[in-house]
C-alpha cells in the first residue's frame, strides 16, 4: 500500500489535441470520456458487491432473521445480547491475541529472512522460491495436514518428537487451554512467505550506492541492517503489519480447517463464531451484529494504516 499510495498523485497528464504539422501536444481529450465509461462498471460493481452488503449487514444486525422470510426489526437487541455474552467477549479477546501475535511474528520472521536473502546467503535463489510454498498451497490442505500432525502418537509432530527421544503424546489441539498455540503457529507458518516477498521487494529497492557508501564508512553487516535497511523499509513493514493484522483477524480458512473453532469454541475467532451463529444455528441477526462489530474495528485499523503509511512517505 505504501507504494500504491504514491500513485495517488498521478503524473500531470498533458491534455490537448494534435495541432498542425503533426505536432503532438498530448493525447486526445476523448480519453477522459473513455475513462468515465471504463470507470462506470468498476464503481457499479463495487457499490453492488461492497456498498449494498455493508448497508444490508447493518440492517440485518438490527433484525431477527432465520435464513428465510422477512426480517423482523428488533432494534439493538442483538448488540445488547452480544455485549453481555461470555463467548462473544472470549472470542473478541482471542481474535485480538491471534491477529496481533501472528502479525508480529510474521513481520519479524519475514524481515529477518529478507535480510538474510538480500545479503546473498548460500542457496538464496532456491529459498526465495521455496519459502512461498505454504502461501501457495490451498490453506485448507495445509491446515488439514497440520491438524493430523498434532494428533498424539500418530501425528507427524509426535512421530518426529519420538524419533528424537521425546514424548509422543503431545496433543495441543485436544485441550481448550492449548489449542490456540498450534493455530497461531500454522497462521504464522502459512503467512510468512507472502510478507517475506513484499519486504524483500522493498529491501531490493534500496540503491546499492547507499550500502556501498556505508561499507566505505566502515559499517559492518549488522550496522548496515539496523542503520540503513531497517529505517528505509520501515514504511513497508508497517503497511504489511497492518495488512497482516486485517487478514489474520478476518482469517477464516486456516482456523476452520484446523480446529472448526473447537474444542468447545476455544479457538472460535470472530469470523468463525459469526459463521456458526448464522449457518449452524440460523441466527443471522446476531451473526450480522458480530460482523458489524468486527468489520467496524477492521475498517478503522485499515483506514488508520493507510493514513499512516501515506503520511510516512
Amino acid at each position: 500500500m505504501a507504494e500504491i499510495s504514491s500513485s495517488l498523485a498521478p503524473t500531470k497528464p498533458r491534455r490537448g489535441r494534435i495541432f498542425g504539422k503533426g505536432e503532438v501536444v498530448g493525447l486526445d481529450a476523448t480519453n477522459i470520456r473513455n475513462a468515465k465509461w471504463a470507470l462506470l462498471p468498476v464503481f457499479l460493481l463495487l457499490i453492488i458487491f461492497l456498498g449494498l452488503p455493508i448497508i444490508n449487514s447493518f440492517q440485518l444486525s438490527l433484525s431477527r432473521w432465520g435464513g428465510i422470510g422477512p426480517l423482523q426489526y428488533v432494534g439493538f437487541d442483538n448488540y445488547k445480547y452480544l455485549f453481555a455474552d461470555e463467548q462473544m467477549r472470549y472470542s473478541a479477546r482471542i481474535t485480538f491475541i491471534y491477529a496481533f501475535v501472528v502479525a508480529f511474528f510474521v513481520i519479524a520472521i519475514a524481515t529477518m529472512l529478507a535480510a538474510a536473502v538480500s545479503s546473498g546467503v548460500f542457496g538464496h535463489k532456491f529459498m526465495k522460491v521455496v519459502w512461498f510454498f505454504p502461501g501457495i498451497a490451498p490453506p485448507t490442505a495445509v491446515a488439514i495436514f497440520w491438524s493430523t500432525s498434532f494428533q498424539p502418537m500418530t501425528g507427524l509432530v509426535n512421530i518426529i518428537s519420538n524419533a528424537l527421544g521425546f514424548r509422543n503424546d503431545f496433543a495441543p489441539l485436544a485441550s481448550s487451554d492449548t489449542a490456540l498455540y498450534p493455530v497461531i503457529f500454522v497462521g504464522i507458518w502459512s503467512a510468512v512467505g507472502f510478507a517475506f516477498l513484499v519486504i524483500l521487494g522493498a529491501v531490493e529497492q534500496i540503491p546499492v550506492s547507499i550500502r556501498e557508501a556505508a561499507t566505505v564508512d566502515g559499517a559492518n553487516i549488522r550496522q548496515q541492517f539496523t542503520k540503513i535497511t531497517l529505517p528505509l523499509i520501515r514504511p513497508v513493514m508497517f503497511t504489511m503489519f497492518t495488512l497482516e493484522l486485517i487478514w489474520t483477524f478476518n482469517g477464516f480458512t486456516v482456523v476452520w480447517a484446523l480446529t472448526n473453532g473447537g474444542p468447545a469454541d476455544s479457538t472460535s475467532i470472530l469470523p468463525i463464531l459469526a459463521y456458526k451463529e448464522a449457518f449452524r444455528y440460523g441466527r443471522f441477526g446476531t451473526a450480522a451484529a458480530m460482523a458489524v462489530i468486527a468489520g467496524i474495528f477492521l475498517m478503522i485499523v485499515g483506514t488508520i494504516g493507510i493514513r499512516l503509511s501515506r503520511s510516512k512517505q
Binding site: A35, V142, T154, L156, F252, P271
Partner: protein, 282 residues
C-alpha cells in the same frame, strides 16, 4: 579476534536460521507426498522409513471419496471455473479502467483512487451474510461461476490500483506515436498498451488466482452443496471421511496441494514480481 569470532558466530546463526526455516517449509510437503503413497499400516508402523512399497491405491480411494465417484475431480473443475470467472471479471473490468484513469485531471484521478482504495479495507466478514442472502434471493447459490463473480469483484480494487500504478509509468511517447499513426484511443489501448502489459497483467492476475484458489470463507457460504464446491471447501468435509484411512487422506492432500505448487514453480518469476510490486491483495 573477538570481532571475527562474533561475526562468524552470527553468520552461523543466520545460516542455521534460514536452513531451519527452509526445512520447516519444505518438509510438510515432502511428508504429504510420502504419506500419500504409503499404506495406513506403514504410516503407523514405520512412518519415517523411506524404503516401502508405494500404495497407489490411496489415490483412487481419495479420488472416489465423498458421496459420488470422482468428487475431487468435480472439485477441481469447480475451482477452475470459479478462478477463471474471478480472473475474467477482475481483469476485464479493472484493467481498461485503470488505463483510462491516467488521462483524468489529477484532482479527479486522485478521488477515483481514494474511492477504489476504500474498497480494499472492507473485510469479508461483513460481506458473507449479505452475499448469502442476496444470492439466495436471486437463486444464484451453488454455482461456482456466480461465486466466481463475487471473487472477481472483490479483486477489482487491488487489480485496479496495481495496474494504474503500472500505466502511470507507461512511456507516453509510445501512446503519442500511436496517435500520430492514426490509431484511435481504443486501438492504442488494445494494440499498443495491452501487448506491452502482459507481464504485469499476469503478475497481478496471479495474486487474484492464489487468493480465489485458496479462500473458503465466501465459497463455503455460496456453495453449500458438495457437488458445487471448489477444492478449498470440499477438502474440509474430506478430512472427516478419512479419519481412519490416513494414507488416502494424505493422497487427497497431495492432489490438492501439489498442482498449485508445480504451477507456482513454473510461474515463480511472475509471482515474485507481482507480490513484490504491490504486496496488497485480498
Amino acid at each position: 579476534m573477538i570481532k571475527t569470532i562474533y561475526s562468524a558466530f552470527s553468520k552461523l546463526l543466520a545460516r542455521i536460521g534460514v536452513w531451519g526455516w527452509t526445512a520447516l517449509v519444505i518438509f510438510p510437503f515432502l511428508f504429504i507426498m510420502l504419506f500419500g503413497t504409503k499404506s495406513t499400516i506403514e504410516i503407523y508402523s514405520k512412518p519415517l522409513s523411506l524404503i516401502y512399497k508405494p500404495e497407489w491405491q490411496n489415490f483412487s480411494a481419495a479420488w472416489n471419496a465423498g458421496p459420488d465417484q470422482g468428487t475431487i475431480g468435480i472439485w477441481f473443475i469447480n475451482t477452475f471455473f470459479l478462478v477463471l470467472t474471478a480472473l475474467a471479471v477482475s481483469l476485464c473490468v479493472a484493467v481498461p479502467a485503470a488505463y483510462f484513469t491516467i488521462f483524468l485531471p489529477p484532482k479527479v484521478g486522485r478521488r477515483v483512487l481514494v474511492g477504489v482504495l476504500a474498497g480494499t479495507v472492507v473485510p469479508n466478514i461483513l460481506l458473507v451474510i449479505p452475499f448469502f442472502k442476496a444470492y439466495n434471493e436471486f437463486n444464484l447459490l451453488n454455482n461456482p461461476i456466480y461465486a466466481g463473480v463475487a471473487y472477481g469483484v472483490l479483486a477489482i480494487p487491488t487489480t485496479f490500483l496495481l495496474m494504474n500504478r503500472f500505466f502511470l509509468d507507461f512511456p507516453r511517447e509510445i501512446l503519442e506515436a500511436g496517435l500520430l499513426d492514426g490509431l484511435t484511443n481504443f486501438k492504442i489501448f488494445r494494440k499498443l498498451v495491452l501487448p506491452l502489459s502482459v507481464g504485469q497483467i499476469i503478475s497481478v492476475g496471479i495474486l487474484t488466482l492464489i487468493w480465489a484458489w485458496g479462500d473458503s470463507q465466501i465459497a463455503i457460504v455460496l456453495l453449500q452443496s458438495q457437488s458445487a464446491q471448489p477444492i478449498s471447501v470440499g477438502m474440509l468435509s474430506f478430512a472427516g471421511d478419512f479419519t481412519t484411512n490416513l494414507g488416502a487422506t494424505f493422497a487427497g492432500l497431495t492432489i490438492a496441494a501439489i498442482p498449485p505448487i508445480i504451477l507456482y514453480i513454473i510461474l515463480s518469476k511472475y509471482v515474485t514480481k507481482g507480490i513484490a510490486l504491490g504486496g496488497i491483495s485480498k
